[in-house]
Amino acid sequence: MAGNEEQPNMQPEMPADQKGEAVPPPAKATKPRVKSFHCINCGAAVTIRYPGVSLSVICSGCHSVIDATDENYRILTKYFKATGQYQPLLELGSRGKLRGHLWEVIGYMVRSDVSSGYPWEEYLLFNPYYGYRWLTQDKGHWNIVTTIKRKPKRYLTSETELDGRKFKLYNTGRAQVDYVIGEFYWRVMLNTQVTMTDYLDAPQMLSMEKDDKEVIWSLSEYIEPEEVAKAFKPQTKFPRPDGVAATEPPKLKIRHNKIMMLFMIFWGIITCGQIYYSGTALNETALDYTNNFVPNTKQADITTPVFTLKKDKANVAISFNAPVDNSWFWAGGELVNDDTGVSYPFEQDAEYYYGVDDGEAWSEGSGFTKTIIPAVPAGKYYVNMDIESGSFKTTNPRAFSVTIKRNVPNWDNYVWSMIFLSILPIISWCMMRQTEVARWANSDYSPYVSSGS
C-alpha cells in the first residue's frame, strides 16, 4: 500500500464517546468494482476495470468507443475499420513493477504519423495512487512517458527548455489513431488528428500534443526492452530493437566525453612536462669543430678533440654544416665515450640542389643537418667519423663544421606522443558521430544533414 505504512495520529473522525447508538461508518477499503455489460452495438461483453476513473472503454467485439460514465453505455464512436488486427505485446490487465511502482496495463493504441504512415504502439498504464504512464514501442525500442503539468519554455521554434535542460526540435507531424482497445481516462476520439511536436535531449524527449481543445506536454524516457519484459512478463517475445532510437542513451557520446577528458589530462601533463624540460634544458655547446675536406672524395677516421658532456642521461645534438651547392656531403661515425668506449653511431647527409625548370626556380635541401642521440650519460667523449662528398664542381679543399650540443630542447617526441594520443579520441569521435547521425535519421531537423538533402 503506497505511503500508508504508518497510522496517522491526526484522526478527525468522530470521538469515541459518540452519543446515541449510531456507529461511524468504518473507513472501508475501496474495492474497484469491475463492471461488465453488453455492447449496445454488437452485444459483445465489455468490462470496465476502473469505473470512476476511466471515461471510455473500447468494445473488444466491434471496437466501438463506449462512454464508460454513461449509465446506458452509449456509443461515442462506432468503429468501422475491420482491417488492421494488432496484437498487443503487453496483455491488457497484466501488471508489472516499473521504476518503483506497480502498474496495470489498461489500454492499448496503435497510432501513426499521418503523412508518412509510420506507426508506433502505446500502452496505457494505471496505478490508482500514481495515476497514468505510457509505454511506447517503436521498432523494438521502448519509452516510458509521463504527462507533465509544468510548461516548458519556448523561445525558439527549434528549441525548448524544461527544468534548465535544452531540448532540440526533432519532429513535427500529425498523429492519428489506427487501433485502440482497453479503457482510457478521456473520451477517446477516433477519426481526429493531433499535432505532435517532439524535442530531443537523449535519453529524454519532450513532446507536445495539441488538438482544438488542449495542449498536453509529456516527457518520455528510453527504457530497455529487458526492463519492460522483466516487469510485465509478457507471453509474446518483443521485437529486437532496430537501429538507433531517438531517445537511446547516448552511451558513445558519454564515452567520447570521457575519452576527451582523459585526452585533455594527458595533453596537459605531457605539454607541461615538455615545457618544463625545454625550459630547463642546458642547451650548451660541448664542441665546435671545423675541418677541411676535399670535395668529391672519401676521408676516413676523422677524430675530434675530446669534449665533456655534463648532466647525466641527456640528449646530444650533432649538427653538420657543409658548403654544398648542387652537391652532397655525407658524414657517418660514432660518438665515443673516452673512458668506457661505449659508442653511439650516427649518419648524416647534407644536400642542396637548385635550378630553373620551365622558367620556375626551385631549390631543395640545405647545407645544415642535425641528428639527436637520446640519453647519453655524462662523461668525456670524442667523435670518430668518415666523410664523403660528391657533385662538387671543383676539388679545392673546403671547410665543414661539426657542432655538438648537450641537452637541447627536443619537440619530436612531444609531437609523436600527441599524434599517438589523438588516435583514440578520433576513433571514438567517429563512432559517436555515426550513432548521432543515425539517431537523427528519422528527424526532419537533423543537425547532421544540410536542409537540402
Binding site: 473522525e13 461511524p24 475501496t30 474497484p32 476513473v53
Partner: protein, 209 residues
Amino acid sequence: MQTLSCPSCGANVNFMSKASVFAVCSYCQSSLVKQGLDLEAIGKISELHDDLTPIQIGTTGVLSGDTFEVIGRLKVAYEDGFWNEWFTIGHQGLVGWLAEAQGFYALCFPVTDVAMPDKSAIQPGRKVSFGPFGYYEIEDIHEVTCMYSEGELPINAVQGRKSLSVDLTSDEGGMATIEYANQETRAYRGAYQDFDAFQFKNLRPIDGW
C-alpha cells in the same frame, strides 16, 4: 475544533476550520449549513458510485515542511470528466485545497486582496495579474457541477452547484485557479507536487493495490 449536532440525526458534526460554512453529516449524509451555532439541514448528499481515489477525509500530507490534513471534499464533474478538490487545514488553521485528478496532485491556497478579472473577460491565453505573485496565464476553462461533497467545506457545496473553473499556470511552474460561482469569485495559487513528495498518510486503501 467546534462540535455541533446534526439537526437531522443528532450525531456530532465537527468543524476543524473556522472558515467552514457547510458540512455533510457522516452518519446520515445530510447537507448542513452553519447558522451561527446551529446547523440547518438543507438536503441529503446522495451516495457516490465508482469513486476511485486514494485520498480520504483524514489523509495528511506535507508541503514545504508543513503538514496539512484533509477535512472536506468537493467532487466536480465537467464535460470531459471529473476531479476532486480536497479541503485541507494546516498549521495555525491555514486552509487550502488539494486538487486531485488522474494522479496529479496540487495544493493551493486562497489569494485575497487581488482583484480578479470579470468572468466575461476570461479566455485561454490571457495573462492575469496575481499582484505580488506575478502573472498567470489562462490554460483551460471548465463549466463544473458539484457531484458530491463530504466533510466540512468553506462553500455551500450542494450537489448540482455550478461554477466556472479557470486553470492558470505561471512561467515558474506554479498553478492557480479562479472559481466563479454565483456572485463570488475566488482565486487560489499553489503548486503541483509528486505523489511521493506529499508523504501522504492515512490514505484510502484500495483493494488489490
